[in-house]
């Protein structure tokens, strides 16, 4: 019986080779269907992994409180005003004192000043923070060290450069021990950090300024730069007083993250009269990203599925034409003893060969497309091993489903009529 099947497959291939152009065009339909399934799933998967990495970088056990500039309220046409908003030192103290189950709390302040070394200058984010920052965010020291407790206690004029800043200011030499000018004051560089996990989205677009970070001790920042940010604009001067720009609350146990997050929300809602803060919970974002990914996959999957369907209909169309064209052959075979099941098998094998052939080529193309997208469109793609299997399985299944009707039509022909067919 096995050899019979083998012979039937060989026969099917022979019949298909009789019409090479038609067979290959039919195969194309499935080929594109399968490859688009794989490519779309790979692009979707890549985008979702990208999003998940971004979120993980924020720290999945962290709750991040951020200062948000509240919307302009009322008419304020004073030429000079101080806008006070954001997180307060009191907020920090309250979290530290009252919340249980917290690993550490790290406050951040951002200072907007130019950073200069020699003739090079840039405007990165200057972040004054505590030594615990590096543990809370999982950043890694490249050279030298991060800020330490002694720097903090002694209000030392030291700084740690982010990767991009170090590369920009010191393209050829080591920044360690160099005196770097932040605003009007000199800071000694004690270390540099590795870049964050390199994300495609972090790569600066060509022609755009590199954003980098410079870290200085919290106390030092308060000493030199105060809490007032002055922004000069044409005709007016904006002053912003922000005590803290960000508080990172690192929670000990992951399952307590939602609890701490809601406690933070509650506390801030009670203490702040205006909504000048936001609470970012990476864990919640992660869950939401997974949900988004699911929807994304369904949408992409159904689009690709439709293209497979179209390919299947193409196959059916061609097979119906083939059956009509080969009516005589069917009659001969029936007269020579072929059972209806033989005829069904014969035509089904032909459609499955067509669609599976298209499936194999489609898998190859479907794997090639994402890598091309990755190279030329600068998008991350991930071909999960399930996707080619799924697509190939569907294509073979389509061969069976769309081949059944033409094969049935062939098998149920009246042999006498079929033999008489010209």
């Amino acid at each position: 019986m096995q050899s019979t099947l083998l012979r039937t497959v060989r026969l099917g291939v022979q019949s298909l080779l009789l019409h090479k152009l038609r067979s290959s065009l039919t195969t194309l339909g499935v080929l594109f269907g399968v490859s688009s399934v794989i490519a779309m799933l790979a692009i979707g998967e890549g985008a979702s992994i990208e999003a998940q990495n971004q979120i993980r970088q924020l720290g999945s056990q962290n709750v991040i409180l951020r200062a948000v500039k509240p919307p302009e309220q009322g008419v304020s046409n004073q030429r000079q005003r101080v806008l006070a908003y954001g997180l307060l030192d009191d907020d920090l103290a309250r979290i530290e004192e009252t919340f249980p189950g917290i690993e550490r709390v790290v406050p951040l302040r951002e200072i907007s000043e130019d950073v200069r070394f020699g003739s090079r200058s840039m405007r990165p984010r200057i972040i004054s923070t505590l030594p615990a920052y590096i543990e809370a965010t999982g950043r890694v020291v490249d050279r030298g060290r991060f800020l330490d407790e002694f720097d903090e206690a002694s209000h030392a004029n030291v700084c740690v450069l982010g990767y991009e800043v170090a590369r920009f200011l010191f393209p050829l030499s080591s920044p360690l021990g160099e005196r770097i000018k932040l605003g009007a004051d000199y800071f000694i560089c004690v270390g540099t950090l590795l870049p964050r996990v390199l994300l495609q989205s972090d790569r600066p677009a060509p022609g755009k300024d590199i954003t980098g970070e410079v870290f200085i001790p919290l106390n030092t920042g308060a000493k030199w730069f105060g809490k007032m940010q002055v922004k000069m604009r044409a005709g007016s001067m904006d002053m912003e007083a922000v005590e803290l720009h960000e508080i990172i609350v690192a929670v000990k146990e992951a399952e307590n993250v939602p609890l701490v997050a809601s406690a933070c929300r509650e506390m801030l809602a009670r203490e702040h009269s205006q909504r000048d803060y936001e609470v970012v919970v990476p864990l919640e974002l992660l869950l939401r990203a997974e949900e988004t990914k699911r929807i994304f996959n369904i949408v992409l999957g159904s689009i690709a599925g439709i293209s497979l369907l179209v390919g299947g209909i193409g196959i059916m169309n061609v097979m119906l034409a083939t059956v009509t064209e080969r009516t005589r052959e069917i009659g001969i075979r029936r007269a020579l003893g072929a059972k209806q099941s033989h005829i069904i098998t014969q035509f089904l094998v032909e459609t499955v060969v067509l669609s599976a052939g298209g499936g194999v080529l489609g898998v190859a193309l479907g794997i090639a497309i994402p890598s091309a997208v990755e190279r030329f469109a600068d998008m991350r793609t991930v071909v999960t091993p399930g996707a080619p299997l799924l697509a190939f399985g569907i294509s073979a299944g389509i061969g069976v489903i769309f081949g059944l009707y033409p094969a049935w039509r062939a098998a149920t022909m009246d042999p006498v009529e079929a033999l008489r067919h010209e």
């Binding site: 012979r7 026969l11 005589r328 007269a335 020579l336 003893g337």
Partner: protein, 238 residues
């Protein structure tokens, strides 16, 4: 399972009718037809077109069914068999030879000869040797790899004859087997039939040409779905 006669009939029809409904009126292609073709006999079935000879051939070939009456092949009543069983019967007991050869274009000569065995439930082990021997016999052993369209009409009909013999059939049915051939090629084919007959094969040859009918052992002439005339030719084996 022969009962009455010591020589079992190759095919036996007992008050067989075949009725085609055609636009309200019924066309009786075979009308209460009773006849018996003996084992090893060479019959020519003749008659004008519409006389029912094609219908008779289709019923004998088990590709058409009787409307009423019984038809048995080598003692086996086939009028009640289902499509599967009929197909099986065709692959084991019948050999078809057609006017237009009806070889399968995508198969080569050897594969074409093997087709009936391909559809048997238990194909013989020596099928391929048998096919080669038959190709040798019809003089085509050097053309085994050729496709039908690379052969002449006479050669194609020889392949068809080899194909009809490969399953060692009870009955060989030839439908105007020489109709598309020139007279000398037709003569060769008819010689081949004579040989087969001499070997004891049962052959039914449908034709409308009297000179071909004259080559057969016996002649059955049909008219309007009934027997018109039955006679023996002098140059038969008896």
């Amino acid at each position: 399972m022969s009962t009455a006669s010591p020589v079992q009939a190759a095919a036996e029809l007992d008050s067989v009718s075949r009725v085609y409904p055609m636009g309200g009126t019924d066309v009786r292609a075979l009308d209460d037809f009773t006849f018996s073709f003996g084992q090893g006999e060479f019959w020519a079935i003749m008659g004008s077109s519409g006389s029912g000879k094609s219908t008779l051939l289709n019923i004998l070939g088990c590709i058409d069914r009787v409307t009423s009456g019984t038809f048995s092949l080598a003692g086996e009543d086939v009028s009640l068999l289902d499509d599967n069983a009929l197909s099986d019967l065709r692959s084991r007991k019948l050999g078809f030879i057609f006017q237009s050869y009806n070889l399968i274009p995508q198969l080569n000569v050897l594969e074409n000869i093997l087709v009936p065995l391909f559809y048997q439930d238990n194909p013989p082990e020596d099928g391929e040797q048998r096919a080669r021997a038959l190709a040798e016999r019809v003089g085509l052993s050097d053309r085994l790899d050729h496709r039908p369209q690379e052969l002449s009409g006479g050669q194609q009909q020889r392949v068809a004859i080899a194909r009809s013999l490969v399953n060692d059939p009870t009955l060989i049915l030839a439908d105007e087997a020489t109709g598309n051939l020139d007279s000398s090629t037709a003569a060769e084919i008819l010689d081949l039939f004579d040989e087969l007959h001499a070997e004891g094969k049962s052959i039914l040859l449908v034709t409308h040409e009297p000179e071909i009918g004259a080559r057969a052992e016996r002649v059955l002439r049909l008219k309007d779905g009934r027997i018109d005339e039955v006679y023996g030719n002098q140059r038969g084996a008896f």
